[in-house]
Amino acid sequence: MKSAATARMTAPGDVTSFSLGLALPLGLVFAIFFVLPLAQLLYLSLHNDTAATVWGLGQYIKFLTDPFSLAVLGSTLLLGAEVTLACLVLGYPIAWLYQRSGSRLQTLIIMIVLLPLLTSVVVRTFAWIVILGRQGIINSVLQSMGLIGTPLRMIYTQGGLIAALAQVQMPLMVLPLITAIGRIDPNLSDASASLGAGSWRTFFKVMLPLSMPGIIAGCTLTYAAAITAFITQSLVGGGQMLFMPMYLYQQASTLQNWPFAAAISIIFLFAVLAIVALFSMLGRRARGYGDAR
C-alpha cells in the first residue's frame, strides 16, 4: 500500500523493456487467473437464459430496471462511503499521533494498527459478534451498570456493521496516511504558527491539503475493501441487510442463475471502478495542489 502511494508521487521514470520483463511472471498469473475468468464472466453475463444459450442484454436490463437490485447496489456503495468516512475520521488522528511520537510509541501504534491484519477475518468478525451481540460484552456491561434495561440492538444493524468493517479496514487507511503525513516538512507547521495561524488554521490550510495524497490512497483502498467484504458483511450484517457480494452469492450459488450473477458482478465491478476513478481524479488534483486553498 505504501509503495503504491509513493510510486504515484514520484515521476514515472524510464520503464525499459528489461524492467517490464520483471513484471512478466505476475502478468501471466494475472492473465490466466484473472483476465480469463473475467472474460468468461462477461461472456456469461451476455446471455438471457440461465443455461447461457440465448445471447442478449437481458440480465443487465433486468438489474437496472429492478428497484430491489438497484437498492442493493445503492446500499452497498453507501456502506462503503460510511465505512471509509469512519476510517478516515478515526484513522487520521492515529496517523497524526504516529508522526508526532517517539520511536517506541511509534512501534506500539504500528503494532496495534497492523494487529487486525494478523488475525483471520472470520475470527475478527466473530469477535465483533461477541462484542455487539444481545448478550455481548457491551450490552452486559451497560446492563450490569444499570444504564440500560433491555439489551441494545447493535448486531445486525448498519451501525454495528460499520464499526466492524471500519476496524477491519483501518490499516488500509492508516498506513497511507502515515506515509503522507510523514512526507510533510515539519517546518511547515512551525512556519504557519510563526505567521500567526492557530492550530486549526494550520491544520486546515496546510496539513490537510498536503496529506491529501494519503487521504485519497487510504480512501480508495478502504472503500474497495469495505464494499467487497463478504464475510464481515454477511456475519455482522445478518440476513436483514443485503449487499452486493451476498446478493451475487445467492444468485450464483443458491439460485444457480449464473448469467444474472455474472451481470451483477460486471455492474458491481464498473460501479467500483467508477468510484476508484473518481478518487484518483481527486488525487491528481490534490497532487497538482491546484485548488487547495
Partner: protein, 361 residues
C-alpha cells in the same frame, strides 16, 4: 516602506534550557539586542544556537529565564501570538500555495481581507524583485528566489523580530553573497530587529552589527565583528573565528593588560591578556597567520619552511618551529611575492606587539 514599524528590542535574560533527556542545550544566556540591530548567533553545530532561535520563536519553552520583546515578557505567548518572523533554512514555503498566497498567509491568519492581502503581497514581492512571480508555485522558483519569497512572507506580518535560520547555507557561493547584500538591504529598509543563526563566520562578521559566539550552550563573547575578530575573549572565539596559530608558552612578566611570554618554540612575545595571568603561568598564545611577518632581525622566533601554499590572493607558508609546532603565516600576494622553498630557515615575528592573545591553560 509604507510605514516603518517601531523597531523592538530583544532581551534574553538568563536563558537556560535542558532537553527532556536532561542534556543542557543552552546555559545562562544573556543577550541585549537593540531595536533595528542585526545580530548573528555564531557557533558550530550543536552549540545551542538553533535551540535559542526556537526559544525566541516560542517553539520551545525554556527551562529558565525570560524572553523580552520590546517591553513585554513573551514567555507565556504561543508562537502564533509572538509576531516573530522566521526564515527557515529550507525556506518552508507552503508547496500547495502560490507565491502570492504564501506571502499573504500571515495576513490571512490575521483576518485581513483578500484584496488588501494580495495588494500587500504584491508590494512585498516587488520589494524582493519577484513582482511577476506571484501566480507561480514555490517549486517553480530557484533557491535564491524561494529564499526571497520566504523573507517577504516573514516581513509581511511586520514582525517585531526577524529570525533567519542558516539562511544562506543552501545557496551556492556566488548567489550567497548577492543574497547577503539583499537581505541586509531589506533589513535596513524594514528596520526590523534581526537575528541570524549561522555557523559561517564570514557571514556573521559581514552581516551582523554584533556577533554572539556560542559554544556548548555557553555564550563565549558578544560584541561587534571587530571586537570578536581583533579582541577575542576566549580561546574558543580566537580559534573558531578566523584562524589562529596556537603556541605554548610561559608568562615571563605582566604589565597592565599586556604580558611578555616566553614561547616553547623559542623567543619572546608581547601579547594581550583578556583574562588575568600571573608570571610563570603556562599559557596558550594565539597568533593569526596574517599578523605574522618574516623578519630579518633577531625578534620573534626561528623555524624552517615546511610548505608553501599559494591560495590566490594570499600566500600561506607553513613553518616548523624548533619545538615541532606548526605555524601558518599568510601574506597578501603582491607582484612577485616569492614562494619560499621547504627547509629554508626563517624568523617570524608579530607585525606589532599586542596582536597576539594569551589564554590561561
Amino acid at each position: 516602506m509604507a510605514s516603518v514599524s517601531e523597531a523592538k528590542s530583544l532581551v534574553l535574560d538568563r536563558i537556560t534550557h535542558r532537553f527532556s533527556s536532561g542534556t543542557m542545550a543552552v546555559s545562562d544566556i544573556n543577550l541585549d539586542v537593540k531595536g533595528g540591530e542585526i545580530i548573528a548567533l555564531l557557533g558550530p553545530s550543536g552549540c545551542g544556537k538553533t535551540t535559542l532561535l526556537r526559544i525566541i520563536a516560542g517553539f520551545i519553552g525554556q527551562s529558565e529565564g525570560r524572553v523580552i520583546i520590546g517591553n513585554d515578557v513573551v514567555d507565556a505567548l504561543p508562537p502564533n501570538r509572538r509576531a516573530v518572523g522566521i526564515v527557515f533554512q529550507n525556506y518552508a514555503l507552503f508547496p500547495h500555495l502560490s507565491i502570492s498566497e504564501n506571502v499573504g498567509y500571515g495576513l490571512a491568519a490575521r483576518g485581513v481581507d483578500k484584496a488588501t492581502r494580495s495588494k500587500e503581497a504584491q508590494r512585498l514581492l516587488d520589494m524582493v524583485q519577484l513582482g511577476k512571480f506571484g501566480e507561480r508555485l514555490p517549486r517553480q522558483l530557484s533557491g535564491g528566489q524561494q529564499q526571497r519569497v520566504a523573507l517577504a512572507r516573514a516581513l509581511a506580518i511586520r514582525p517585531s523580530i526577524l529570525l533567519l535560520d542558516e539562511p544562506f547555507a543552501a545557496l551556492d557561493k556566488n548567489l550567497r553573497l548577492d543574497m547577503q547584500i539583499e537581505v541586509k538591504r531589506l533589513q535596513r529598509m524594514a528596520g526590523t530587529t534581526t537575528l541570524i543563526v549561522t555557523h559561517d563566520q564570514e557571514e556573521a562578521l559581514s552581516m551582523a552589527d554584533r556577533v554572539a559566539v556560542l559554544s556548548h550552550g555557553h555564550l563565549e563573547q558578544f560584541g561587534t565583528p571587530s571586537e570578536i575578530y581583533d579582541q577575542p575573549q576566549t580561546l574558543f572565539v580566537n580559534t573558531f573565528v578566523g584562524t589562529a596559530n596556537r603556541l605554548k608558552g610561559t608568562v615571563l612578566a605582566t604589565d597592565a593588560g599586556s604580558v611578555k611570554v616566553g614561547l616553547e618554540a623559542g623567543g619572546e612575545i608581547i601579547a594581550r591578556a583578556p583574562h588575568p595571568v600571573r608570571a610563570s603561568d603556562k599559557v596558550t598564545v594565539c597568533l593569526r597567520p596574517e599578523h605574522l611577518a618574516f623578519v630579518a632581525d633577531k625578534s620573534g622566533f626561528a623555524g624552517e619552511i615546511g610548505m608553501a601554499l599559494p591560495l590566490g590572493a594570499t600566500v600561506v607558508h607553513e613553518i616548523k618551529a624548533k619545538d615541532g609546532s606548526s605555524i601558518k603565516i599568510s601574506q597578501a600576494r603582491t607582484g612577485g611575492t616569492p614562494l619560499r622553498e621547504a627547509g629554508t630557515p626563517v624568523r617570524v615575528a608579530p607585525l606589532a606587539p599586542g596582536l597576539a592573545t594569551v589564554f590561561p591553560e
